[in-house]
């Protein structure tokens, strides 16, 4: 397969496909996207499929708000023959401690400045939004009706097909083994199917970005962390919003298909490449979710799976380029909220790679922030 390309994108998740589409849309030619398995086989296809604007930092709020506005018109934008199953049933974020109440009010302040239609709700109002919610111990919640759900497989497929129509070549079941650089410049990538010579690499391979960056001596502060999810049988629609509790580390949403998708973050999870589900998760998830949403006890679990967060020290993505290595661009370390900001991230990365003024500032997501010790912590993630 020895050949050349102007841009090589590593990783066939939603981020890679969104960047590929946005680059091609700007008239860029000769783009190759390489995926080691099939599209969405990594974190994208294993995520909780939620999308929300309710974040704690201004930049994440803006990235998410712009992305949701793009999700609203994504099927037309990408001329997709199908549905990306976009649903705006809202997100209800539960507060159980005074500290959370304080943080949520702070977050609302940030969100309101940016025009995000979120609001504080009392336990009684929360019960009106989700009638089967157990309000025991609940101090209040925040709600944003514009938040919701989108299907990660379909969204990635939509980006991939639109990118291909614009000339992007997508190669699946080809693994990048190492990056090639010489004299401070990217020169290519070595794959399981030969070498591709290229002056520009965009690395968006989730946790595996760390190992690939290491092949040219760049140390990315990424750690893989397993997060587990289960899905129930489909039932009639009974829950509009995603219900999320940072206190329990839990989220649970009924997707348009009718099934409930729910997940749990475990603070003691070892940092390793383990993508297997555990029976402990089933018990813990079931115990917690049936406390918060009791009628769900009657639903049958059909399947469970796990995926990897690509965690950074401040739980914020790394966007931008690596100084000292010309042509090396990064979009990784999304720490569990990559899918929902993929539309805007793809646009911003394309602008950045082509040397244009970016529509939103991205310098705070720069790779060098870790070396400078300028962590940029997102308070509101599971």
């Amino acid at each position: 397969m020895n050949r050349t390309a102007d841009y090589v994108i590593i990783g066939g998740g939603v981020i890679g496909c969104s960047i590929a589409y946005n680059l091609a849309k700007k008239g860029t030619k000769n783009i190759v996207l390489i995926e080691k398995k099939y599209l969405t086989s990594g974190a994208t296809g294993r995520c909780g499929a939620g999308i929300r604007m309710q974040f704690g930092t201004e930049t994440n709020c803006l990235l998410a708000k712009n992305s949701i506005e793009m999700f609203e018109h994504l099927e037309e934008e990408l001329a997709y023959q199908g549905s990306i199953e976009f649903k705006q049933g809202g997100y209800l974020l539960l507060a159980y401690t005074e500290k959370m109440v304080e943080q949520f009010h702070k977050n609302l302040g940030v969100q309101h400045k940016l025009g995000i239609p979120s609001r504080w709700v009392t336990p009684e109002e929360a019960k009106e939004i989700v009638p089967h919610l157990n309000t025991q111990g609940l101090l209040g919640a925040t709600f944003c009706g514009k938040d919701g759900h989108c299907n990660p497989f379909k969204t990635t497929d939509a980006y991939a097909k639109a990118a291909q129509r614009l000339g992007v070549e997508i190669i699946t079941y080809a693994e990048v083994i190492r990056l090639l650089a010489n004299d401070g410049k990217i020169t290519g990538v070595e794959t399981s199917r030969g070498v591709i010579e290229t002056p520009a690499v965009i690395l968006c391979a989730g946790s595996y970005s760390r190992d690939l960056a290491a092949t040219i001596g760049i140390e990315l502060p990424l750690t893989p962390e397993r997060h587990q999810i289960l899905v129930t049988e489909p039932v009639e629609m009974m829950q509009g919003p995603m219900v999320m509790s940072f206190y329990h580390g839990l989220y649970c949403q009924q997707v348009p298909h009718g099934s409930f998708v729910m997940g749990l973050g475990d603070p003691n999870e070892p940092k390793e490449y383990n993508q297997n589900g555990s029976w402990q998760f089933l018990h813990e998830m079931a115990a917690k979710v049936t406390f918060i949403l009791p009628p769900l006890a009657n639903l049958r679990v059909i399947r469970q799976w796990a995926g990897l967060y690509d965690l950074t020290p401040d739980r914020q993505q790394i966007l931008g380029s690596v100084p000292g290595i010309e042509g090396f661009h990064l979009a990784a370390g999304f720490s569990g909220h990559g899918f929902m900001i993929a539309p805007m991230t793809g646009k911003l990365m394309a602008e950045h790679i082509l040397g244009e003024q970016t529509s939103l500032p991205i310098s705070m997501f720069d790779f060098t922030r870790f070396a400078r010790g300028e962590l940029y912590v997102e308070p509101s993630v599971v």
């Binding site: 379909k154 089933l282 979710v289 009657n298 639903l299 059909i302």
Partner: protein, 96 residues
């Protein structure tokens, strides 16, 4: 989705109500990877976890790609093997 009184419709995935025509349409588009078919069509994502549809679709893929059936890669079978109520699972933590 199935219309009433249509005898020519073949259901391939009965959990998710996916017809042979729908599966074949995707295969004709070039989606010949069972993993991708599962994610785009929901075949095998229902309560039976593909016990019914997987062999049928693997036959379709073998026919379309000219590969022997035994060489068509399968998807991962995920636990639980059979659907279990959340209420039952929630009660399980105290019975160690």
């Amino acid at each position: 989705m199935c219309e009433a009184n249509r005898k020519d419709i073949i259901i391939m995935c009965r959990c998710e109500d996916i017809t042979a025509d729908e599966v074949r349409a995707y295969i004709e588009q070039g989606v010949t990877d069972l993993e991708q078919l599962k994610r785009l069509l929901r075949v095998g994502m229902g309560p039976c976890q593909g016990r019914t549809c997987t062999p049928l679709i693997v036959n379709e893929l073998a026919r379309a790609t000219g590969q022997p059936v035994k060489e068509i890669p399968l998807t991962v079978f995920r636990q639980p093997i059979t659907p279990v109520k959340l209420g039952v699972l929630a009660g399980g933590t105290d019975h160690e």
